[in-house]
Symmetry: C2
Subunit: 212 residues, 2 copies
DNA sequence: GTCTATAATGAGATAGAC
DNA sequence: GTCTATCTCATTATAGAC
């Protein structure tokens, strides 16, 4: 039987700092352009110490995903039972996406480094789309949108989901944007809103803050 | 002064075979999960020989981009002066995207390996969107779509571009699809079509093969 | 043009002292 | 918990024989 090394404290401050630094670096340059040496150096510690807290780079990604998961669930549930302002709801989504953008951007690298995140990300995506679907249904029932069949809702949600999820990467790859600002994020929200626009009633448009 | 080594023939069969193999491998697993050793082995030759034809991995990517560029330009220009069937035009786009999907999927890795492709990809993206904009304008003038302002066209094209470009990655990351089939590609085309649907006139809908 | 070495690098990971 | 030192390994790349 194997002798296990002492387990690091899961609430340790150092651990939290490593995750913070790591998220920043990953958001900036992506998980496989960032080495464990750089993470440790940026956190102001030695690489050996990093490996005391996270024995594999994979474990860094998994711990970050835990936090990401909570953030997404909180964001998706935000409208509650009576969504007040579509615009604010969307803004919340884009903010979360911005704070965890490497998860949206570097899927391939992430799955290679931490294969078991594949299933978890998919679950998260399904849950999120389910919550958005509920919100949409409520909008229809409340007369803010024209009635939509489940198939139509699915089409709309898929398109909106894709534009949301890949907006940041699109700015980088398709528009050559290097520094993403809050204006870019607001622009993304408008793009997504535009997908729903033709289906909004007058009441819906004023709710969304879109009347001219 | 430097003594240059003999230049490999740019039209050599071996070179072409390497690029073929390379595209397949990159499409399957991404440029930085594929090593030069694997490329050479799959092409049935020694690694040293690969380096005779391409002194750096970067050069493989650049050569592949040349081919990709031609393919995109050909696809974008396809509708010519009187676009006949939107559906076929879109199908052409999705086919090209499928054949070169790693360029759409692995942007981060590609830019790290071949930084000078960044500018070229952006140019290509701009050109492509310009051509699509022209096609859209013609549709409006021909009465297939309701009249659109330039700003509205830009919104629509941006959304359609994003859904197109990231469709394959979305299937993989958001839907857990591992094997992409032609049905998935057709589905993507329908998704994009759905963005334009509210703006199509009756004539436009029958042109698009969308009447029920 | 193709092969057999082999160098050079750099990343992930571990052992063990403090 | 943190550090120093070291190992292992994959990958890119080169030199030179055939």
């Amino acid at each position: 039987m194997t002798i296990s090394r002492p387990k690091p404290n899961p609430r340790s401050k150092t651990r939290a700092r490593l995750l913070d630094v790591c998220r920043d670096l990953f958001n900036e340059r992506g998980p496989d352009s960032v080495t464990t040496a750089q993470i440790a150096a940026t956190a102001g510690m030695n690489e050996g110490n990093l490996y005391y807290h996270f024995q594999r780079k994979e474990q860094l990604l998994e711990a970050l995903f835990d936090a990401f998961e909570s953030a997404v669930q909180q964001t998706a549930g935000a409208p509650g039972e009576a969504p007040e302002l579509i615009r604010d709801y969307l803004a919340g989504w884009f903010r979360t996406m911005w704070e965890w953008r490497f998860f949206y951007r570097d899927g391939a690298a992430i799955f290679r480094l931490a294969p078991n995140l594949r299933a978890r990300l998919q679950t998260l995506s399904n849950e999120g789309q389910g919550l958005v679907d509920q919100a949409l249904q409520q909008m229809c029932e409340a007369g803010f949108m024209s009635p939509l069949s489940p198939a139509e809702r699915a089409m709309l949600i898929t398109n909106a989901w894709i534009v949301s999820a890949y907006w940041i990467d699109y700015l980088r790859a398709g528009r050559g944007v290097t520094e993403i600002t809050l204006d870019h994020i607001a622009w993304g929200a408008r793009q997504v809103m535009h997908i729903f626009l033709p289906y909004l009633t007058q009441a819906g448009r004023s709710l969304a803050g879109l009347e001219l």
